[in-house]
């Protein structure tokens, strides 16, 4: 029997065009039907130097299915190189050309002598969702563009986090991670967002190590870089939100990089002092509102479900109900991710469900006894179900319908404060 998936939280692998869009002056060249890009471009911003409306696309049709679309791909790349001024062109293939067997790699190899680099990533939808697509794009850069460097820059760290645009706070988060790394005396290098782009990609091989801040997305890229470029990596699975996790994060990164402990503790103390000064001032607000939300659930991808669960338990002292991970985490990673939910303060453990079907998630939320009004942090899909339970709802994961985020962030000490502000803004509105 056909299986129905209700309200899934991801797109197909071709959705990785978001990741390409996030690298400044890098252009996706789509080898797909015209409808693919149209559907995938929703909610990722359709203006700017490059935006989905101008992505070159082969717009393949029935003829290309029968006769092959490689000629069209060749002319599309050729013309994109002529008329669009980009630093790097990444060809992304959709389902159709891969099903009919177009050899995109061969066509792309014909552009090896072009003035600008052209690479390709196989992002057919049947290969996985846009989290996997993101990995494919980074893989393509590693495999086809980067070369091993004997020159290393002391203290240079490549930072990798979750998927741009899919993660609402991607830009702010990665900038704040950079700031934290900079404060402990290291030099951050990231490729996504404003004023990064190709010059930062070129610096990747010179890094002392890769820092991956994500439960699973990008882990395969780190392994690939270790093999090909000889860059060791530190995998830090928890997105550090709030004081407890961020301090842990800084200590672990510092230890890995060989930074002086005293220096790290000094940075931590300065941040924590201010953090707890703020918390102290509003302690009464937390205590009063504690009555409302004894238990909470997060419905998001692995990074937010894990990061926010740890934050709400460790920093705010809330009790976790079932936490839902909606990103279709690969089966071989699930056990490791679930293990992280057992590492909470106060001897608490959170139950975690890997579930992509929103109907089942909602049924579970409805049937769980939250010992009062639930606090649900999730996608917009959870708004209605939470309201039905008279709970408090905050939209923190895709899809996002009720807020606009430019460069706000939840990561780090400041990010933790922002998240508290957002949660209690919702909570206090109850009484108005």
């Amino acid at each position: 029997m056909a299986k129905l998936l209700d309200k899934q939280r991801y797109k197909c692998a071709l959705g990785a065009m978001q990741s390409v869009q996030a690298i400044e002056r890098t252009l996706p060249v789509l080898h797909s039907g015209p409808g693919c890009a149209q559907k995938l471009s929703e909610s990722i911003g359709s203006s700017g130097y490059f935006s989905p409306n101008i992505f070159p696309c082969t717009s393949i049709n029935e003829k290309d299915v029968v006769f092959g679309g490689t000629k069209k791909l060749h002319s599309t790349i050729d013309n994109a190189l002529k008329v669009i001024d980009a630093d790097l062109y990444i060809v992304l293939t959709g389902c159709i050309p891969e099903i009919v067997g177009d050899d995109s790699g061969e066509i792309v190899s014909e552009f090896a002598d072009a003035d600008k680099p052209v690479i390709y990533a196989q992002t057919a939808g049947f290969k996985g969702n846009n989290y996997k697509g993101h990995e494919q794009v980074v893989d393509a850069i590693i495999e086809q563009y980067l070369k091993k460097s004997d020159l290393k820059e002391e203290g240079l760290v490549n930072i990798w986090a979750d998927v741009p645009y899919q993660d609402l706070f991607w830009l702010g988060n990665i900038r704040e991670l950079e700031n934290l790394i900079r404060e402990i005396g290291l030099t951050p290098n990231t490729i996504f967002g404003y004023k990064r782009g190709i010059k930062n990609i070129d610096r990747i091989p010179k890094a002392q190590f890769n820092l991956l801040v994500s439960p699973w997305v990008g882990l395969s890229n780190m392994k690939k870089m270790e093999r090909k470029l000889g860059i060791p990596y530190l995998h830090y699975p928890t997105l550090p939100i709030g004081a407890t996790e961020t301090s842990k994060f800084l200590r672990e990164v510092g230890k890995f990089a060989g930074v002086d402990e005293e220096k790290i503790e000094k940075v931590i103390k300065e941040h924590e002092d201010y953090y707890y000064y703020l918390i102290e001032r509003y302690a009464d607000l937390f205590l009063e509102n504690r009555v409302i939300n004894k238990q909470f659930s997060v419905v998001a991808d692995a990074q937010y479900t894990l990061g926010i669960t740890k934050f709400l338990v460790n920093d705010l002292g809330l009790v976790p109900a079932t936490q839902f991970i909606t990103d279709d985490t690969p089966k071989n990673q699930r056990e490791k991710v679930a293990e992280e939910f057992k590492k909470l303060n106060f001897g608490l453990e959170a139950e975690v469900a890997f579930e992509t079907d929103s109907h089942k998630i909602h049924e579970e939320i409805k049937s769980h006894d939250y010992h009062g009004y639930p606090l649900v942090l999730g996608g917009y899909y959870e708004k209605e179900v939470t309201e039905g339970l008279s709970g408090n709802f905050l939209n923190i994961s895709w899809p996002v319908q009720d807020k606009v985020v430019f460069d706000d962030f939840y990561v780090g000490y400041t990010g933790g404060i922002r998240l508290i502000e957002d949660i209690y803004t919702v909570a206090v509105q109850r009484f108005n």
Binding site: E62, V66, F67
Partner: protein, 134 residues
Amino acid sequence: MAYKIAVGTSDEINVDLKFGELTELHIYEADGENYSLSEIREIDLPEQENERSENHVANCSQKGCGNGGGCGGSSGISARVLAVSDCRCIVCTKVGFQAQKQLERKAISYFDVECTIDEALGKITNYYKRINRD
């Protein structure tokens, strides 16, 4: 089930005519992966069509293009589309935008390719066989 494919050719070997140049159609009958020429069909073109190419520019400047016929061109397209209406698809070197739209409305596929008839029909019959419309 057998079905028909229309081909635009001047030499019966290559697909070498544009849709707008067609005055006759080579109709092939296909069944599974087998196909054979079954008919050479004259297209019943309106008279003005024959003069169109010579008077094309003059017509435009005199009458303007707002007469609904688009420089008197659409009747020729209609006649050609009508002529292929019992076929599953038409194979020729180019199909104009107006013709594409009219063919789509009749659910007739078009393949604008430049190759031999055998290559085109081989691929097309294989395609239809695979998508299980036989």
